[in-house]
Amino acid sequence: MEASVADRPTAEGLPARSIRGVAAAVRSALAPVQATLSYLEVDTRLLGMVLALLIIWIGFGLVSGGTFLSPRNLWNLSVQSASIAIMATGMVLIIVSRGIDLSVGSLLGFLGYTMAMIQSVWIPQSLGLGFDQPYTWILTLAIGIALGATLGAFQGFVVAYGGVPSFIVTLGGLLVWRGLIFRYAQGQTIAPLDTTFQMLGGGTVGTRVGALGEWASWILGLVVCAGIVYTLIASRRRRRRYGFPVRPMWAEWMLGAAGCAVVLGVVWVANSYPLPPNVADQYAQEHGITVPPGGLIIPTGLAFPVVIMLLVTLVMTFLASRRRFGRYVYAIGGNPEAAVLAGINVRRTVMLTFALMGALVAISAAVQTARLNAAVTNLGVQNELDVISAAVIGGTSFSGGIGTIPGAILGAVVMQSLRSGMVLLLVDSPTQDIVVGIVLVAAVGLDTVLRRRAR
C-alpha cells in the first residue's frame, strides 16, 4: 500500500517519493529555525502570515518597479486597511464564539448616514447650533458608537436569547439596515461634513491634516516601544516569581528588538511621506515660512485612521486575552456545553460580542464617511465580505475557538495589499475579485492542512 502510493507519479510526472525527500530535506533545514522559534514562543501561524505579507509586498514592489513600496503607497495602504481591520477585530470574537455577522456592511452604511445627518443637519440646523462647532465631531462619534453598540446588542439579543442562528439574524440585518438607508435617504448624499470630523478619515482640509505629524508620530512610536519592553519585563518577572521556566535572555532581547523595529519602521515610513506640495505651500504661506527650492517637505506622520486602528487593536487584544469576557468567548467557541457547565453566562457573552461589533462598525463608519467627506447610500456595500475574509485569512476558524486579533489585522492588510497592488498594476476589478477569492480559499485550505499535520 505504502509503496504503491510512493511510486505513483504525481501530476507533475515526478515520483511522490522524491517530493517526500525534498519535503524531508526542507524540514531538516528548518529544524534550527524551529528550535529558535520555540525559544521565542512566538505564534508560528502569525509569523507565517507576516512572511506571506512580505512576499506579497516584495513581489508587487518588484513588478511595479518600486512604486508599491513607496512611502506614498504604503501610507495609503495603511489608511485603506484601517477601516476593515477595525471591524475585523470584532468579527474575530464573533466567529471564535461560533457566530457570524453578515450585517456589518449595511450597518456601516446606516451608521455612517446617521452620523452624517447628526453633524450636518441635526446639530447645525435642527438644533440651530451652527456648523463646525468644536464639539460636533466628538458628539457625533459618541452618538454613533452608542447607536452602533445598541443595534449590535439588539441583533445579539435575538441570537443569544431568541435562539435564532446568527447567520439568519444578521442576514436580516443586512437587508433591514440597507433598506432603512434607501428609505430615509431617498438617494440623497449628505455632504459636506464637519471639518474636524473629516480629520478622522486621514484627509486634508486646507492646511489641517488627518495625521499625527512628524514628532507626535515618533513619540507615539516610542511610547509603544516602551510598552512592548515593559510587557516583556513584567511577564518575565511574574513568571520568575512563580518559579516558572522563562525564555533565555537573548530571546527576550530579540523579541523586544523585533517589536520595536516594526513599530519604529512603520513610523519612519509614515514620516517619509511628505504632505502634498499645494498643502505644504499653503502651510508655508500661513506660517510665514519661505519655501526652499524644490518645495517644503513636511512629513505627514501616522494617519488618524491608523492611530484609531492601533488603539482599537490594543483595547481588543486586552479584552480578548486579559479579561474574563475574552476567555469566555474562546471557551464558548471551544465547547459551548462546557462553558454552560462551568457557570459562564453564555447568552450574555454572545450578546456582548455583537454589541462590541456594532460599536466597531460605528468607528469604521466614521472613518469611511470622514474620508469620503460624505455619506452615500451604498456606503459599506460588501464590507461584510471583506471583514469576514480578513478575519479568516488571519487564521480565525469557523469551527470556533481559534483566532487572534493581531491575525485579523494582518489579514486585513494582506487583502488590502493584494487589492492595492493589483490596482497599481491596472488589473481590472473583476479580476481582483477572482484573485482575492482564490487567495481566501487557498489560505484557509493551507491552514487546515497544516493544522491537521500538527496534531
Binding site: S321, A331, G333, A342, G401, R455
Partner: protein, 275 residues
C-alpha cells in the same frame, strides 16, 4: 495500602445530618420520564455508588444536583436546607462539584484556563492573572499526576488520562464538599484507574461526600459505602456494601427488582413466559 481498603465511615450514624438529600426528583424529556420520583441522600465522608443500565437516568439525576438541568418536580436539600439549583454556578457556590463523563473541557484552552473556567483569578484591575492560575494548577495537577508537564498546551492535544486529570483538578481545587463523578474511569487504563481509586479514598477521608456514577459494578463495590440502583428512571433500591452480593445488585440492574422480591418475581415471570 491495606488501611486504604478499610472504609473510613462504615455506615453513617442516623443522627448525623445528610450533606445532600434528593427527594422525589422527577425529570421529563418530552413525554419520557427520564427520572421518576427518585429519593437518595449522601453523608459526609461517604461514597454512594449509583448504578444502572444505559438510559436508567443516573446521569440525568446527577445533572439536577450539579445545576445543569433543574428538576421538573421534587426537592433538593443541602445541609438540610431546601435549595433551588437552577444553574451550575449555584451548585458550585454550595460546594457541589461535578466531573462529567464528557469531561466538559474547552479543548482550545490550556489546563489552567480550564481548571479556573468561570472562576478566574484576576488582578486588582480585573485583568486575568494567568501566572497565579498556572501556579495553582501546577500544584493540584502534580498531586494527581506527577508526570503532567504541558500546562501551556491546549487540552485537545493531551492524552485521555491527562485530560481526566484536568477535569478532576477543576473539581477538587475549590474545596468541594460534594463531588459527583460520572464514569470517572471509563476512559482510563489500569494504572490511571488505580490512581483515581486512591484519590476517591483520600477525598473520602477528608470528609467529602461522593456520588460515584458507574457502569462498572466492580469499581462500585470496591469504593462505595452504599449502592443505589436505578432502572428506567426509578430507584430500585439502595443497599449497604457487604449486605448484598454482586449477583444480587446485577439482578437489580438488569431486572429492576430489589433482591428481596427477586426470587418470587423471577419465578412468576418464568412461569408466565412458560405458559
Amino acid at each position: 495500602m491495606t488501611t486504604l481498603l478499610t472504609p473510613a465511615t462504615p455506615n453513617p450514624a442516623p443522627s448525623r445530618m445528610p450533606l445532600v438529600e434528593l427527594q422525589n426528583i422527577r425529570v421529563s424529556f418530552g413525554g419520557v420520564r427520564a427520572v421518576d420520583g427518585v429519593t437518595i441522600d449522601l453523608y459526609p465522608g461517604e461514597v454512594v455508588g449509583l448504578v444502572g443500565g444505559n438510559g436508567a437516568g443516573k446521569t440525568t439525576l446527577m445533572r439536577t444536583l450539579s445545576g445543569a438541568r433543574p428538576p421538573d418536580a421534587g426537592q433538593i436539600k443541602v445541609d438540610g436546607q431546601p435549595c433551588t439549583i437552577d444553574n451550575p454556578r449555584v451548585a458550585k457556590g454550595l460546594g457541589i462539584e461535578t466531573i462529567y463523563q464528557t469531561l466538559a473541557l474547552a479543548d482550545n484552552l490550556d489546563a489552567p484556563a480550564n481548571v479556573f473556567l468561570g472562576r478566574e483569578l484576576t488582578s486588582a484591575v480585573g485583568a486575568l492573572d494567568d501566572a497565579a492560575m498556572e501556579s495553582a494548577t501546577r500544584k493540584v495537577i502534580t498531586r494527581l499526576n506527577p508526570n503532567f508537564k504541558n500546562f501551556k498546551m491546549a487540552v485537545l492535544r493531551l492524552s485521555g488520562g491527562q485530560r481526566q486529570a484536568v477535569a478532576i483538578a477543576r473539581a477538587i481545587h475549590f474545596n468541594a464538599r460534594v463531588l459527583i463523578m460520572d464514569e470517572p474511569t471509563a476512559a482510563l487504563g489500569p494504572a490511571e484507574t488505580a490512581q483515581v481509586h486512591d484519590l476517591i479514598r483520600q477525598l473520602q477521608r477528608d470528609g467529602i461526600g461522593i456520588f460515584l456514577v458507574s457502569h462498572d459494578i466492580h469499581d462500585v463495590f470496591d469504593l462505595s459505602d452504599r449502592i443505589s440502583v436505578m432502572y428506567h428512571g426509578k430507584l430500585v433500591g439502595t443497599v449497604n456494601r457487604g449486605e448484598a452480593t454482586t449477583d444480587e445488585v446485577l439482578g437489580m440492574i438488569i431486572l429492576g427488582k430489589p433482591p428481596t422480591k427477586l426470587t418470587a418475581q423471577e419465578l412468576a415471570e418464568l412461569r408466565g413466559s412458560g405458559g
